[in-house]
């Protein structure tokens, strides 16, 4: 190799080939800079996802658009930059509508993988829940804009033989989305179409009938980041009381799956009961709080007025509130109704649905029945949530471990394996 230049990354010196882009140059030296829009053998950088943001000679820029040259000094892993990168990923989740449990790409998804890798359990940003287009009109492809991160890979890379674009951005700002040209799309060969689907870092481009090519449980990212440990949170110091810790649980707009999972711990429940006493909970059937609790476990988000009341009650009565399961964290499956007008939901369920009685044109309503909210909300948009346990549902051991760790103020010791569901 000729043309070597000296560069500094986070204080260490390296020699790399001149003119290479920083992502690849760092990679060759074993330094990983996360990326989404960048891919191997790319002619010109897209620079759309901003995740590879670093500081070069004191200025923030993206590494995929930086060509290394003599003497540059790069900072990659400062706490601030790591947080910025994390924030960008979180923002992507808040912006799109990512329901991983029902996504074809889950397990093969670059976005999901980065989120795992950075230890993201919840996004700091409120979900936008905008109504996005899912376009089935093309004969072969589906464009799932809910998942698109607008990385531009498909726009730049997928062309017909005549060099025409098949995908294009339309509109601008928050309304920007990718649209397929149906006519041009027909001209692609099947393998080119598959290439487009695989090129997409998320599950936005789908070729009909071809999505479950790889079997479950054997996915691209299953082996990555095994040794990673989740970060320890330090602030909450809670001394153990003389006797037992009091725990309350509830299921709001969830499927009770998370509660089922709680019970999956089998006979170990005896150990749990040694340090824990349950108060209000479906497990005990205690309906009302009879005393103040140390920990409240919340399953499910808020879909109706009662959910809101219960959640607020929990916040008032519990010192620590933990949201467990995706529905509590981001609305989950019930939140999928946020994209359908409430009226249509109700009509479908009670009037036009197959199972509804013909002619019984009634939507249940009574002052004793809780009212449905316009939208389904994640718990943290209503009250402050102290901890999150992701999963759909989270594993029993996982849940109890976290609860125990919090109560006894121990270090978290959940490995990546235990923490990963797809």
């Amino acid at each position: 190799m000729n043309n070597l230049v000296n560069i500094k990354i986070d204080g260490n010196k390296y020699q790399v080939e001149a003119g290479k882009n920083l992502v690849d140059a760092a990679k060759e030296n074993g330094i990983y800079i996360p990326t989404l829009c960048h891919f191997h053998n790319q002619d010109h950088a897209l620079g759309t996802c901003r995740i590879c943001t670093v500081i070069v000679n004191g200025k923030t820029t993206t590494s995929c658009t930086t060509k290394v040259n003599e003497g540059i000094e790069v900072e990659i892993n400062t706490p601030e930059l790591i947080d910025t990168r994390k924030a960008i990923i979180e923002m992507l989740f808040a912006e799109g509508n990512h329901f991983c449990p029902s996504c074809e790409k889950s397990g093969n998804c670059d976005l999901q993988n980065l989120a795992y890798d950075m230890g993201i359990t919840v996004t700091r940003f409120p979900h936008v829940y905008s109504n996005k287009v899912v376009d089935f009109n093309s004969d072969r492809m589906i464009m799932e804009s809910n998942r698109c991160i607008l990385c531009m890979r498909c726009v730049e890379e997928v062309k017909t033989d005549e060099g025409k674009n098949i995908f294009s951005f339309v509109k601008r700002g928050i309304n920007t989305r990718v649209q397929i040209d149906y006519e041009e799309e027909k001209k692609l060969t099947q393998s080119e179409a598959m290439h487009a689907m695989n090129l997409c870092p998320v599950g936005a481009i789908l070729v009909k009938g071809m999505v479950y090519k790889e079997p479950f449980g054997d996915r691209k990212y299953d082996l990555v980041g095994k040794e990673k440990e989740a970060a320890r949170k330090e602030n909450f110091v809670k001394k153990g009381a003389n006797n037992k810790f009091i725990v309350a649980t509830t299921s709001l707009a969830g499927c009770f799956g998370c509660h089922m999972s709680l019970l999956d711990i089998d006979t170990d429940i005896v150990d749990v009961l040694e340090i824990v006493e349950f108060n209000k909970s479906p497990l005990t059937d205690i309906k009302k709080f009879s005393k103040r609790c140390d920990v409240g476990l919340i399953e499910g988000g808020c879909a109706n007025s009662e959910n809101i009341e219960v959640l607020k009650e929990f916040r008032k009565k519990c010192d620590i509130l933990i949201a467990f399961g995706e529905c509590a964290i981001m609305g989950g499956i019930p939140a999928m109704r946020n994209f359908v007008p409430l009226k249509e939901c109700l009509e479908e369920a009670y009037i036009n649905g197959l199972t509804s009685e013909i002619g019984a044109n009634i939507i249940p309503n009574h002052e004793d029945i809780p009212k449905l909210l316009n939208n389904v909300y994640p718990c943290n948009e209503i009250v402050k949530i102290d901890y999150y346990i992701p999963g759909c549902p989270p594993d029993a051991n996982h849940i109890w471990k976290v609860v125990k760790n919090i109560l006894l103020n121990e270090e978290y010791s959940i490995t990546h394996e235990e923490f990963k569901y797809d």
Binding site: H44, A45, L46, G47, T48, C49, R50, T53, G58, T61, T62, T65, E80, T84, A87, I88, M91, L92, A94, E95, F125, P126, V128, I149, L150, T160, K164, N165, I166, F167, S168, F169, V170, K171, R172, G173, I174, T176, Q179, D181, E184, S305, I308, R315, L342, K343, I351, N361, I362, I363, K371, L372, L373, N374, N375, Y377, E381, I382, V383, K384
Partner: protein, 594 residues
């Protein structure tokens, strides 16, 4: 894009058939074309009315008569904003600042300007249009409102102009010497980025190529700025000479004025002036008899996108693409328009360059301050007696400037437009100049107002030219909300921090405005701002939070007065509101299925 304009103007929309035809002609896919059309907000896919009305909704307009004027329009035409009448006669839309901030409330109807509108005027206007009077006869050409210039020998821009005087100075001077002259004058970009103009030209000159371009950035999209409009209206010839000189210096033979669509009414004048120059041999082939010195000019119309003021987006837009900024892997002076070296300069920069040649370096350097010689154009609007254009010598104290414009009770100032900063009385002793500047990241690290005042008192204020002033009766929050509204509408959508970050900030500000927020929300805003700043791709995202951040630093009381006590429960959540759809639906359904 010119074709798209022709169709839009003639048919009032660009239909599917048109799109198919155009895409065939240009050999691109239809969807790519649709992507381009849908990027610009003056192109419509649906019929936009025979008379398309764009009402300016920026904050200055709102503080004048916007709401009443809007209501008057809606009442007279009988539709809500954002719609077109059934007969297709009128379409009513809102748009962001149209560069008439000193003559608000203003609107454009088929790109004819209507300034100082009142509800009464709207009424007569609409009825006259209905009777078939011509738009041109009804519209009022915007006034220049030049309020102030220094003494004659210290004035650079607004003094008598004689065609060709500046250009003739290049006779007998080598291009390199022209560049040296501009370098020595310390002229820096007046579009807001202040890149040294001489250096830019040098880079372009050094890039060997068979073809180079000079582009004049007349997109003037920064809300509250209108100096370029006045300059082009007053001295269109000066701009042309400036561009020709730039062409001579860097070796370019083609020039383009990228004129924002909001200034359609200036196009005619510019074209006429170009024609005059051609007739006189001051443009075209062998200019001034200098063998081989060719330069041609044309005008390219924008179509309503603030981000197209960003130079790489501007070039993309000229190439007929979506106006998305590029990654800066290459600068325009390396690979610009059609991949050739290109200089992009602001109107004021180019005019200044022409004047520097005309008046001579020494005379120019005698004006202004050491780091920033010469004068600066300021566009003043808001709460003062004399809004309009001011040509001031660099180095003027802000305090003195406020007297000049006869500001009443100044409380806060948006300096440099929406992407600039927010100034308070703390800053009134600073001078308007480029002296002692601090690096930006240091400036934004200051968290303590007192420390800020100490550090910044000697630091000059450098400005692209917008000066919006608000008195004690105005609330800061609606202004900041208006600013984020603007950035949400104008973000190109390429990168998530700007696209969604500004959207989320906007919601947060709304929450504060409604007094539902607590301290945590403020902390979050700060954190989010710096994330957006750090990771956005172009200047739009990088500067979109400047005003908000400086405002939070300087006017904490404006925010605190709206805060609630901290609590673990989100006070903004209103249960009644959150179930109102349900109540409505139950009512509706019960009646429909009775």
């Amino acid at each position: 894009m010119n074709i798209l304009w022709d169709i839009q103007k003639k048919r009032r929309c660009i239909s599917r058939d048109d799109m198919t035809k155009i895409s065939k002609a240009f050999n691109i896919s239809r969807i790519e074309l649709e992507g381009v059309i849908s990027f610009y907000h003056f192109y419509h896919l649906k019929h936009a009315g025979k008379y398309t009305i764009y009402l300016n909704n920026s904050i200055i307009s709102k503080y004048k008569d916007f709401y009443r004027v809007k209501k008057a329009f809606e009442k007279e035409i009988g539709i809500k904003t954002g719609h077109v009448t059934k007969d297709g006669l009128f379409g009513l839309f809102e748009t962001s600042c149209i560069g008439l901030s000193d003559q608000e409330t203003s609107a454009l109807i088929n790109f004819n300007a209507f300034t100082n509108l009142t509800p009464e005027k709207v009424k007569t206007l609409i009825s006259k249009l209905r009777q078939g009077e011509s738009l041109e006869s009804l519209s009022n050409f915007p006034e220049n409102n030049i309020q102030y210039t220094p003494e004659e020998n210290k004035t650079v821009f607004f003094k008598p102009y004689h065609q060709g005087n500046a250009l003739k100075k290049i006779i007998g001077i080598e291009p390199d010497s022209v560049i040296d002259l501009i370098k020595a004058s310390k002229l820096s970009g007046r579009g807001g980025a202040f890149f040294p103009t001489g250096l830019k030209w040098q880079f372009c000159r050094d890039n060997k190529s068979d073809q180079k371009y000079i582009i004049c950035n007349a997109d003037e999209g920064e809300p509250g700025t209108f100096k370029d409009r006045v300059l082009m209206n007053e001295h269109p010839g000066l701009l042309i000479e400036g561009m020709t000189i730039a062409g001579y210096a860097v070796g370019a033979t083609e020039g383009t004025i990228y004129l924002r669509a909001e200034y359609f009414y200036l196009k005619n004048k510019l074209e006429k002036t170009i024609k005059k120059f051609l007739e006189k041999g001051l443009l075209g082939k062998n200019i001034l008899g200098i063998e081989g010195f060719d330069f041609n000019l044309n005008i390219h119309m924008g179509a309503g996108a603030y981000v197209c003021g960003e130079e790489t987006a501007l070039i993309a837009s000229m190439e007929g693409k979506r106006g998305e900024p590029t990654t800066k892997e290459f600068f325009p002076v390396e690979k610009g328009y059609l991949g050739k070296p290109t200089v992009v300069n602001n109107v004021e920069t180019l005019c200044a360059a022409a004047r520097i040649l005309e008046m001579g370096l020494d005379n120019y350097l005698a004006i202004g301050t050491k780091a920033t010689p010469g004068t600066k154009l300021m566009s003043v609007s808001g709460d003062c007696n004399k809004p309009g254009i001011y040509e001031i010598e660099w180095g003027m104290k802000l305090k003195y400037f406020l007297d000049l414009i006869e500001a009443k009770d100044p409380h806060f100032i948006l300096f440099n437009g929406f992407s600039g900063e927010c100034l308070s009385s703390q800053d009134f002793d600073r001078e308007i100049s480029g002296e002692n500047l601090l690096a930006e990241h240091i400036q934004f690290q200051l968290n303590d107002p007192i420390e800020y005042a100490r550090k910044m008192s000697a630091v000059g204020l450098r400005s692209g030219g917008a000066f919006m002033i608000f008195d004690k009766t105005r609330d800061l929050l609606p202004i900041l909300k208006n600013i984020t509204d603007f950035f949400v509408a104008e973000s190109c959508g390429i990168c998530v921090p700007c696209r969604t970050g500004n959207f989320l900030l906007n919601k947060k500000l709304h929450k504060i405005k409604l007094c539902h927020a607590d301290k945590n929300d403020l902390e979050e805003i700060k954190e989010w701002c710096s994330i957006i700043k750090q990771s956005s791709r172009c200047g739009l995202g990088k500067t979109s939070t400047n005003c908000l951040l400086t405002a939070m630093l300087k006017f904490p009381e404006e925010f605190n007065k709206c805060l609630l006590a901290e609590s673990d429960i989100n006070q903004a959540f209103n249960l009644e509101k959150a179930v109102d759809n349900y109540d409505k639906i139950i009512n509706e359904i019960e009646t429909t299925y009775e």
